[in-house]
């Protein structure tokens, strides 16, 4: 058995170390380490409740809006205020912009550059991928960065700025859109759709969104050469490298749903276990702390959770806590979201191969199409002149839960208010679920399990297969520990 310590991991958000034991050319055992602790749950103690909207987004610079949405929803449930339709639309648009930009950044800047590495030089697809996706120098970078920046103008208009907007409040959005601005939003979306249809998909968003199963996906990909679009490029190399077998999921998935509009939501919430959809009950969530550098061992329900760092705890190896649902690990992210929401292509892929590097990336790219189409509908539904916010009074004592979906998966904030101040605040981020360490029963977290069996080539110190698996989750380590 050889132990490899892989890190620092770049092109993930934050700092990550993965310790793997290898034998016979594959990973036998893995430990995932989140090595940075900042203590946001402690920072928030004693603060005025609405100030959570200043601090919480700053947990993460890549999903700050998701943090805002979770905090605002937690505060809204404490206040008992509801959001007017325009406010919901504006929040959905701002949130969707962040999530889509995140998927795009992940695909182009974080995930694909690994296939431009020297180790793949002898592959038939290598030259094309190298030219297109080499980190910072590939031809994709020069078109993706401007397209992304222009798309983010939606943030300038509807949120003031990104990251770290304060526009999302418990009762809605502080930024009402005027008729001319609604027109500008539509134009920005049109330009972004053009980029997606020409570069990423090489086809209409509607056709991609309507793919029903694996045969349809394979046949769609085969209509054109791989070089015709970036998604086809991925599908081609994924088939060649058999990424559908790499980084298997455990079979347990969780989604809080998301993009709320008038008592419904674009994506539904729930769990998926053993091929079955089930309801989600937040009362079943608890965080185990046995392997985490905190004073207690848990498990603790988040509403009464604690954050007492103990850097000397010998049983521990990560600052990440280990959330469990009814005692079980859960994978969360675009794959879980589309599976639970019932997208036929994702359901078909998972029923054939299970979750994997391939399925995670397909679900993420598919979601770009689905969400941009929804954004176009939301812009058309805005009613400039109507209300975007409802005001309410903060009670001096209350509790609240805010659940939402960040790009990377399920994000929850739990707040308690006593004497007009925050008396407890606990956060469970998507990567906290995905990259959690072992619990009291020794059960490894989703990534730790997905790494078992990953091939390690002779002489590799930072195995490329491990890099693909880790990045297929689109991890965010600053969120994980927060």
């Amino acid at each position: 058995m050889t132990r490899l310590i892989v890190g620092p991991f770049n092109r993930v958000e934050g700092d990550l170390e993965v310790r793997i034991d290898c034998a016979d050319g594959s990973v036998q055992n893995a430990e995932v380490v989140s090595p940075l602790y900042r203590g946001f749950e402690r920072i928030l103690l004693g603060k005025p409740p609405l100030d959570a909207l200043v601090y919480a987004p700053r947990i993460c610079g890549i999903c700050s809006v998701s943090q805002s949405v979770a905090a605002a929803r937690a505060l809204a449930s404490a206040i008992g205020v509801s959001v007017p339709r325009n406010g919901e639309l504006a929040i959905n648009l701002v949130h969707a912009t962040e999530n889509v930009a995140d998927h795009l950044t992940h695909f182009y800047l974080f995930f694909m550059p690994d296939f431009a590495r020297e180790i793949y030089r002898s592959e038939p697809w290598y030259e094309d991928i190298r030219e297109r996706f080499t980190a910072t120098r590939g031809t994709a970078v020069e078109t993706v960065l401007p397209a992304r920046a222009q798309f983010m103008h939606i943030m300038g208009i509807l949120a003031g700025k990104w990251p770290h907007t304060l526009s999302i409040q418990p009762g809605g959005s502080t930024r009402a859109a005027a008729p001319g601005e609604a027109a500008r939003l539509a134009v920005i979306l049109k330009a972004f759709r053009r980029f997606l249809e020409r570069q990423l998909f090489g086809d209409q968003l509607e056709r991609v969104a309507a793919l029903e199963n694996e045969e349809a996906l394979v046949s769609w990909a085969g209509e054109r050469a791989p070089e015709h679009s970036d998604f086809r490029r991925f599908l081609n190399l994924s088939a060649a490298l058999d990424l559908a077998r790499l980084g298997p999921s455990s079979g347990n998935y969780l989604s809080y749903g998301g993009y709320h509009l008038e008592d419904t939501s674009l994506f539904g919430h729930g769990t998926w276990r053993n091929g079955q959809a089930n309801a989600f009950d937040p009362g079943d969530v608890a965080e185990d702390l046995v392997s985490s550098w905190y004073k207690t061992d848990g498990p603790e329900p988040p509403a009464s959770g604690t954050t007492e760092p103990d850097a000397e705890k010998t049983s521990a190896y990560s600052w990440c806590k280990a959330p469990r649902l009814g005692g079980e690990i859960m994978e969360t992210g675009a794959l879980a979201r589309q599976l639970i929401n019932g997208h036929p292509l994702v359901r078909d892929l998972v029923s054939r191969h299970g979750g994997s590097v391939h399925t995670r990336v397909v679900a993420r790219v598919l979601e770009i199409a689905l969400v941009v189409m929804a954004m176009e509908r939301w812009v058309a539904a805005l009613e400039p002149g109507g209300h975007f916010i409802t005001h309410g009074d903060m009670p001096s004592r209350a509790e609240g839960i805010g659940l939402t979906e960040a790009a990377r998966g399920s994000l929850g904030h739990w707040i308690s208010i006593e004497n007009g101040q925050i008396s407890n605040y606990q956060i469970i981020a998507p990567t906290t679920w995905n990259f959690s360490p072992r619990d009291k029963d020794g059960v490894a977290g989703p990534l730790e399990q997905a790494l078992i069996g990953a091939p390690v080539r002779k002489g590799e110190t930072d195995p490329v297969s491990v890099q693909h698996i880790v990045r297929s989750f689109d991890p965010c380590l600053v969120c994980t520990v927060h």
Binding site: N10, D15, V478
Partner: protein, 342 residues
């Protein structure tokens, strides 16, 4: 005749580290426009040796590069740090061990800062401790050469890099991409000196201005036509905690994300470029008042004059401003005298 390279100098070598922050400054920088970030770096003749979000190299390759920079085997021109320095617990730095190295990040930061010709703090966390230092700061987060408003931090208040400059504090939470790109460009050109920074070692290129400058709500400010609740269109200084008249930055002169600013977004300035903005001593979204008069009035203005002028201007507030100030959207347009709307 063969083409001659216009810039014959060797590239300026930049290394980027992240510690106790959120990565938001890097993500904000990715939004650079006209041109994009990668082109900007190229235009500035900057070679990015490694950036955690963008580079190919991972693991051993990076650690070995860091070792060569630390030993002086390879030169380092610019060290950028994003996020605060994590000194806890008890000065051990164990709250952030750089992965793959078993060594506290604060040791790496100090070692590389000693070798770099220029050291740049990207964002308020790296400059002053920032949000990560909020609350009881049990994590012992500090900036590179400040701990809040106190000189010190990791490197000491009198630190000068081998290029002869203090740590350049591109403060902001997050930074505007333009602030970063311009500053790096000037540093790389070799034209940056101590007259280019303010009393907190922040680039004057953007702290020469107040957030108030160019604020679209200035007319409301002139007449003290105040917003009462978030989303109202009036001036947010009197009731909603806005610090635009004190905060040093050009946020309303240089658009964020092509179109906005905090004030345009309908929420107050929280003065995020200033040391200790994270602990304002009051609710962020409420202006503390004594006897009905806001404390923390605009800088450079005697209080008695402010109060006198404010009561005068309030008495003269046009109906249009009074009405618009507490509306969710501008509802009453300006009118041309003698011409009625058709």
């Amino acid at each position: 005749m063969s083409m001659q390279r216009i810039d014959a100098r060797p590239p300026v070598r930049l290394f980027w580290l992240q510690s106790g922050g959120c990565g938001g400054c890097s993500l904000s920088a990715l939004g650079a426009e006209n041109p994009d970030l990668v082109t900007t770096m190229e235009a500035a003749n900057i070679e990015v040796l490694w950036h955690p979000s963008l580079s190919e190299a991972s693991g051993r390759e990076v650690v070995s590069l860091m070792e060569r920079l630390e030993s002086g085997e390879e030169p380092l021109d610019i060290l950028c740090l994003e996020g605060s320095v994590m000194c806890g617990p008890n000065g051990s730095g164990k709250f952030h061990i750089l992965s793959g190295t078993g060594r506290p990040m604060m040791d790496w930061i100090r070692a590389l800062a000693e070798k770099a010709r220029y050291v740049v703090a990207v964002g308020s966390c790296a400059a002053f401790g920032g949000i990560t230092a909020a609350g009881d700061n049990h994590v012992e987060a500090v900036g590179l050469s400040y701990e809040g408003r106190k000189p010190g931090g990791l490197l000491g208040g009198d630190f000068l890099s081998s290029g002869g400059l203090p740590v350049i504090n591109i403060a902001g939470c997050p930074i505007h991409p333009g602030w970063l790109c311009e500053t790096l460009h000037q540093i790389a050109a070799g034209t940056y000196n101590e007259t280019d920074v303010d009393e907190w070692a922040r680039p004057l290129s953007y702290t020469m201005h107040l957030v108030h400058h160019g604020c679209a709500r200035n007319e409301f400010y002139e007449y003290k036509a105040s917003a009462e609740r978030l989303c109202d269109q009036g001036c947010m200084m009197e009731n909603l905690g806005c610090k635009g008249t004190q905060a040093r930055a050009d946020c309303n002169m240089r658009a964020w994300n092509g179109a906005g600013s905090c004030l345009d977004g309908g929420y107050p300035c929280i003065n995020c470029t200033a040391p200790e903005f994270e602990e304002p001593g009051h609710d962020f979204l409420r202006t503390p008042k004594v006897a009905g008069i806001p404390v923390g009035l605009p800088t450079d203005m005697p209080k008695a004059w402010f109060v006198a002028l404010a009561s005068l201007s309030k008495a003269a507030t046009p109906a249009r401003l009074k009405e618009n100030a507490t509306a969710e959207m501008l509802t009453v347009p300006p009118s041309d005298k003698g011409k009625t709307r058709s």
